[in-house]
Symmetry: C2
Subunit: 269 residues, 2 copies
């Protein structure tokens, strides 16, 4: 089967399954999060291992799972456990028989901040917001990604960054503009569920930072000399390649929603 | 003036000043925290810069100050702001003109976790616990450090770790045992302020992790080929050299105190 056919087949099965698990939410999405975050962390640490670093792999994946499940069961667990995990990760470095390097522990902690924290937040968003709200976020990220691709393909002239030689300013601007348009369309149909302010703010964040997240992951791959984070999804590369934008945008949207709640709580009630 | 004389003179002025600022607490200790954490971060980042990494320096120091002051003014600020800061630090890496490297951003975030978070917690401990309680923690760390030194000097035979060639198992065990003894002595005199359980638990944590923290900082210096983190304190080396144990033990003690409160709150009240 050709690569494109595999890619389409996986998309046809994978995307509906993904949306179904979000729809079911709760423990279903928790299980999906555990699988995705564990693979993404494994990819992240393994990329550094191909260079000359030796981060622990299985222990931080276990720590990450504890943080995600713990916070699902008891809100606030992640905040309590992360500093403790950091101290234990720093400590474990000095007890290694060989390849001791403080950078290993910084890579391990970086992976938890970059991958685990967004998944904790994603579970929290999914348990607090309506299904439509979550789909709204995904639609924005997918719109941005797709339109940046087609915008670049049809109008691309000026190179965006040496990190990703194929990306252009034209594509990036198209991605941003269509994300805002997508946000406005969603607002038009769901104005009873989302305010214009929320739609626009989340649209702007998604339009900018899903692209930045993509570039950041490309920078990691480029620096470490890898093409895909792994080949685990047939035709699609690695989990990190597929979810680089989502994990980057999630903390911003989470904080935006928390902050809005904070303001409502403090100034309106 | 000889190095030893300078060292003693700085100690005679520095330690009482330090204790005085803890006694005053509040904004006095906040200012001290800002100075110490900024210098420690500057030392931390500069050590990596001497190698071949190029972490941002001034921006994370500013971020760190915002986190410490923000959390002083509004409890919980650090938790909200840190993930946002992480996303912005990752983002800033892709916009640098040169020397782009994801490891730079992992070093920057590592510094905030290693240095800023403990100072945030230290301010919280100081505003919630009595002066005697704080001094108790410092006494334990100083006892451990001093007794490990003398224990090693008089009985040292078996090398502890290749990270610090001068340290011995005998010294390490002496440090641990005298820390427990110090905790029991403090309990004897202040049993109205601290329970035996708290004294013992904090004693055990300080006796082990102040030594681990010391070794972890030595590992950083050894790997990056530096002798002292800086020469900013005449005769004493850098701030990080002086506070490596404290910043390592603080999160553990903080979480222990929070957790005890949690238990008291949930099971006794």
């Amino acid at each position: 089967m050709s690569n494109t056919a595999t890619r389409i087949l996986v998309g046809v099965i994978g995307i509906p399954l993904f949306i179904f698990l979000i729809y079911k939410g709760g423990i279903y999405f928790l299980c999906l999060s555990l699988i995705l975050s564990s693979i993404a962390l494994w990819e992240f640490y393994l990329m550094f291992k191909k260079e000359k670093y030796f981060p622990l792999i299985m222990i931080p994946i276990a720590v990450s799972a504890i943080i995600i499940v713990g916070n699902y069961l008891n809100d606030g667990f992640a905040i309590t456990f992360l500093p403790l995990a950091a101290i234990l990760i720093f400590s474990s470095e000095i007890f290694r028989k060989e390849k001791k390097n403080p950078l290993n522990s910084l890579i391990v902690i970086g992976g938890l901040v970059y991958i685990t924290v967004p998944f904790v937040m994603l579970n929290k968003i999914i348990s607090h917001q309506s299904f439509n709200y979550i789909i709204f976020i995904f639609v924005l990220i997918w719109t941005c990604d797709t339109m940046a691709f087609f915008g670049g393909k049809f109008f691309g002239k000026h190179k965006l960054s040496e990190i990703s030689p194929k990306k252009t300013w034209e594509g990036s601007i198209a991605g941003f503009l269509f994300t805002i348009i997508a946000a406005l369309i969603v607002y038009y149909f769901y104005s009873n569920e989302i305010s214009l302010k929320d739609a626009l703010c989340i649209g702007i964040m998604a339009g900018i930072f899903s692209q930045v997240g993509d570039l950041f992951e490309s920078l990691i791959k480029r620096k470490l000399g890898v093409k895909d984070s792994s080949n685990i999804i047939p035709g699609h590369g690695g989990v990190l390649d597929r979810f680089d934008s989502l994990i980057f945008v999630t903390p911003l949207i989470f904080l935006y929603l928390e902050f809005s709640k904070f303001f409502i709580y403090n100034f309106r009630v």
